[in-house]
Subunit: 254 residues, 2 copies
């Protein structure tokens, strides 16, 4: 009798959590739904390499466990998947893991790696939220000609990314493509924006703030693939309070 690989049978809150969201792909599905409801093919686009079989299986499991809901309207082909409150409550955990990944598992994009605009924007939002002290309200509308609309905004406390058109008037509107956006964030200056033909509109002050804050991301991480700007960097380049000092060991928290 082989033990069920999907459970741990421990009396432990972390084991319980991992039984629900610890399977391969699961947390990536949650991540993509945290920015807003999506269709099956929207998720397939973002989860490059997943097979439809696996995605179906994950969606069914998540639905059964009450983390997502499927919106199947009769007479409509599309099925929209969205998080329940329990699912959306994973946001702090997803953010904590992403933040760790940014600092300790960073590497420049590989040659054959899929880059979806949403995940680049997620990383930008995360860096702006966690490294800058600037949390004053803002709303940036990013229109990607090849991938729809995104909104990066701060409510005065936190920066978040959402998929879809903005609710309310944006301070800054950016119109470009995924490819140009990727180029731009490595050097988010007005001149680079012009060179790439990116349309950025808004008040001079708001646009300057946009450039400055996106600059914190460019400074924080290395986007160029190995060989373009020098040595590949497998070491983290972002510092936090208790940062690596070359393998020194310590004992729980700071």
């Amino acid at each position: 009798m082989t033990r069920n690989v999907r459970t741990y049978d421990h009396f432990c809150v972390l084991s319980r959590a991992l039984e629900r969201i610890g399977d391969r792909w699961t947390l990536l599905v949650i991540r993509d739904l945290l920015t807003g409801a999506k269709r099956f093919t929207d998720l397939m686009d973002r989860l490059g390499g997943i097979t439809p079989k696996t995605l179906t299986q994950r969606l069914r499991e998540l639905e059964e466990e009450g983390l997502i809901e499927a919106d199947r309207e009769p007479g409509r082909r599309e099925v929209w998947y969205r998080l329940t409150v329990a699912g959306a409550d994973l946001a702090p955990a997803v953010d904590a893991l992403s933040w760790w990944g940014l600092r300790h598992a960073w590497r420049p994009p590989g040659r054959d790696e899929v880059l979806h605009a949403e995940h680049l924007l997620t990383a930008i939002s995360l860096v702006i939220d966690r490294t800058g002290g600037d949390r004053a309200p803002a709303r940036w509308h990013i229109e990607l000609e090849d991938d729809g609309d995104y909104v990066i905004e701060s409510d005065g406390h936190h920066w978040t990314l959402t998929f879809g058109r903005p609710q309310g008037v944006p301070d800054v509107t950016i119109r470009t493509t995924t490819g140009d956006l990727k180029q731009f964030v490595t050097d988010p200056t007005p001149s680079q924006g012009s060179a790439l033909g990116i349309q950025i509109t808004g008040t001079a002050k708001a646009v300057a703030r946009f450039h400055r804050l996106v600059g914190t991301f460019a400074k924080a991480v290395v986007l160029q693939p190995p060989g373009v700007t020098g040595e590949p960097s497998r070491r983290p380049t972002i510092s936090s309070q208790a940062e690596d000092e070359g393998g020194r060991v310590f004992q729980r928290r700071s």
Copy 2:
């Protein structure tokens, strides 16, 4: 050519993190090392059901990725595994996932589920840290006759659990066994402590605070297995700011 199951090949910080700690058992190993260095068999004890083959593999992977270090002193049998700074930096992510598990994936202990004292104490520390406003400094020494020493303490900002004897003088000392501890936390009153023969020493004030804070855990969760005190509860019983209201759906964060 089958794709490597251990990578995602996405340019995404969460994917990068999950490639390192997303495998089965990996985050549970991290969790057990977050409370202090452990030996192979210490980990085997806590990771009930893991095979030595899998544990060896996980330890090698984590060592290679720089998240743990193995302390192999010549002339000594034991190998001590401990977190590097990069590994210990996973603490916020582990805590966030555990906290989600406590609220949304709780269930009473199953009949055949392994309960290790360390994981019960982890959950207690987490609840005290996140639900109470009481973060004044404290140091509780828990001596388990069958499982060594633990310390739950607050530095004035956060409550943490560590494995091993306390550094400094504890405010409260609790001497008992794993089984009695499990019984006690369901009803952490002085009378129940006496009935179980648990030795609790310290000033009256400190001991009263201990009982009160452990009581927040008892009130927060249901420890009894189904049938003992009534209906099984698969629903979470702890409330946080944005709590489930029966499947209502919303859009990213609160």
